[in-house]
């Protein structure tokens, strides 16, 4: 197992839109499909594909219902999703720190 921070990135979560869905869902109790589409500036089909992937991975819970005659989908983050999001953000921060350290100029030793 590699010690490099990139080794801790989860393939399912480490995708810009899926990370966005999890971040918004973690901030709210429940979030509407339409709100996610507007906020992430995605098409319904594209968002639906990412939501299905996260749902199948057990990272979110999807609740489909009706408001009057209009169908409405609410999404909430699962405990596993919250854990995966925390781990992903920690891995990203570790990567940023590693990159900053590598880019820092090496000072010559004065003895």
């Amino acid at each position: 197992v590699s010690d490099h921070p990139a080794a801790n990135l989860d393939e399912t979560v480490h995708q810009r839109h899926r990370l966005g869905i999890l971040t918004i869902a973690a901030e709210a109790g429940k979030v509407d499909f339409g709100y996610l589409r507007r906020t992430l500036d995605m098409t319904a089909g594209n968002l639906s594909r990412h939501v299905t992937i996260l749902d199948e991975a057990g990272l979110i819970d999807v609740e489909k219902g009706y408001e009057g005659k209009r169908p409405r989908t609410w999404i909430s983050i699962s405990p596993a999703g919250r854990k995966a999001l925390t781990a992903e953000l920690a891995a990203l921060r570790a990567l940023v720190t590693a990159v900053e350290r590598a880019a820092a100029p090496v000072r010559p030793r004065t003895t």
């Binding site: 480490h14 810009r16 709210a28 992430l40 596993a80 990159v99």
Partner: protein, 277 residues
Amino acid sequence: MTDVPPAVLLDEMTRLRTRTRADRHAYVPPLLLFGVLVLAAPLWSYGGPARFHFAGVWFGTPLQLYWLAAVVGGFLATAGWYLHRGTRVGVRTPVRGYLAVGLVGVVAISFGMPVVESFAYRVERSPFAGPAVTVPVAVLSAAALGGILWLRPRLARRTARGTATAAAILLGLVALGALDLRFAPVRPYAPLITIALGFVGLAWLERSRLLGAISGAFAVTALLANLYTMQSVFFHLGVFARYEGPMTAAFTNTLLPGLVLLAGGGVAWFRERGARA
């Protein structure tokens, strides 16, 4: 996998979190509503007799009934408002914890306070009703309650989360019961503590520093009202220095807490308006 650099991705997630948080903030109407309800309480402070009697316990004075209606109505109206706004905007704040605080408060107001008041003379004689017992019990219960509320969203199983909710409600009742023993025989303003706890819970759910600051200021004034020092403050200021009846005396206790909520609501409204402009 994404090709976006980690630093850019982290910045983007921070922006999304901030935007979602701003979109779900909805605490101005509850602040204004409870501000008005608190300021209206003295109108029911004329000290009519308790209407109901059960097992040696008298309850149902006009002020007790007013507080019961105000707290139940205020908490339900707040939960309804959050549900309505969440549906309209598309982001819902989970308000079950807030309702649990309200339920605990209502149980403490409608059962705990009348019981303690009816047995006030026995309470004073009891070694378990002194501050040496009630204050540590209240502090420990509140600390355990905080720990459970922190742990609850991290529990994977639904039954474990249900058990945590039940334990949180029980610990909340114990904490409020201990506070009742300490304060209820003295002042009928324990419902202010319930409202303050509700707002502290709401600030936590909203992740709002401003609401946290307003709730903290309101909690301080609520404690002052329960500790009987408000009238002394007004006396030293030279306002309401003479006793002019129960309504004026009650007004000195609810004026500051009510104004804190109304002013807090005004500041929050102004800030939200500025952020949207």
